[in-house]
C-alpha cells in the first residue's frame, strides 16, 4: 500500500517533467528543421521549399514518402545530414551540415523525419 503510494507520488512528480523535456526536445527539433532544412525540403517536409524553383535540378527528398524513407536507417540519415549528398552518392545540392549542427540537433532531426514518414526505416 505504502509502496504504491510512493510510486504514484514519484510518477506524479517526475512524469510531467519527463514529458515536458520530450515536448521541449521535439519543439527544438522542429525549430531546427524549419530554420535549416525547410528552405529546400519545405515546411511540411514534402520537398517543395522556396529554393525548389523550375531550375532546381533534383527534387529534395519528400520526407512523407514512407517507401523511400524506409530504405534508410537512422544512421544513413545521420550520415547524409552530416556529410552531405555526395557521401551517399546523391546530389551535392544536399548540403553537409556536420560543422553547423550538433549531434543532439541531428538526433532530433532523425526523430522528426521518422515522424514525417511515419516509418522506422532499416535497422542499423
Amino acid at each position: 500500500m505504502m509502496r504504491t503510494a510512493k510510486i504514484i507520488l514519484f510518477a506524479a512528480l517526475f512524469l510531467p517533467a519527463l514529458f515536458a523535456a520530450n515536448v521541449g526536445a521535439a519543439a527544438e527539433a522542429e525549430q531546427v528543421f524549419k530554420f535549416y532544412c525547410a528552405q529546400c525540403h519545405g515546411l511540411n517536409g514534402k520537398g517543395g521549399g522556396p529554393n525548389v524553383t523550375k531550375d532546381f535540378p533534383v527534387t529534395p527528398r519528400d520526407f512523407t514518402n514512407t517507401a523511400q524513407m524506409n530504405k534508410l536507417s537512422d544512421n544513413d540519415i545521420r550520415g547524409i545530414v552530416m556529410d552531405g549528398g555526395p557521401s551517399a552518392s546523391k546530389s551535392p545540392l544536399m548540403p553537409p551540415w556536420g560543422k553547423t549542427l550538433s549531434d543532439g540537433d541531428v538526433d532530433g532531426l532523425v526523430k522528426l523525419l521518422r515522424k514525417f514518414c511515419n516509418c522506422k526505416g532499416k535497422p542499423g
Binding site: Y36, C40, N51, G84, P96, K99
Partner: protein, 220 residues
Amino acid sequence: MKLMIAIFAGALVGAAVSAPAGASPADGKKVFEGQKCNACHYTDGPAKEKSIADQLAKKGPELWYAGSKFQRPWLEGWLTKPEIIRSLAYNSLTDKNKGDHPKPAGADAKNVADFLMSLTTKEVKAGKIKPKRSLKGRLVFNKKMPCTGCHRSAGKKGKVSGGISGPTLIGAAKRLNPDWVFAYLNNPTFFKPFKAMPTFAGILKAKDIKNVATHVSTLK
C-alpha cells in the same frame, strides 16, 4: 593645469582636422538613429545572437561590421536606390520581399554611408583575395558544393539561376568586399552565430575556400 588645458585643446583641434568637413560618421550616426534605422539593424558588435530564436527576432541584417563587408560606392548608391537583395522577406520562407526599404535622401545617405563604413572589424584582413577568374572556385560554387541551391547568380551568358533563401550573389563583385567574403567563409559564426547557411570551414579545403571566395568576388 594650464598644460593640461593646452593638451586637451590640442587633442580637440587634432580630432577636428582629421575628420573631413561634412563627412563625419557622427553625423551619419545621428541620421541612422533619427530615421529609426536601428529599429531593424544593430550596429554595435560583437554578434549578439545566442539562439535561432534571437536570429528570427531580428527585423533586418546586422550592420556592426558593415564597413568591412560592403564596398563604399555600392553602399551609398543602394541606400538612395535600394534594390532587392533577399527575394524573400527577412527571416521568412513564405512571404516575398516587398522591396519597401526606407530611402534616406542624398546628403543623409552619404553621412549614413560614412557612419556604416566606420564600423569595421579586425577579423577581416585586407589583401587576402584578388578578384579574378577562378575556374576552381566556379567548380566549387556550381558543382561540388550546394551554393547554387540557395543563392542566385548569373552564368557566363547572363542566365540567372539558383535558389532564393540566401541573399542574391548577382552583383557581389560590386557589393561585397572580397576579403569579407573570405573571412565570412572561414569563420562564419563570428559574423552570424545562427545562419541558415551551412558552415563550410573544415569541410572545404583552405585552398577551395579561397577559390570560392575569389569566384564570388567576380559575380556580376
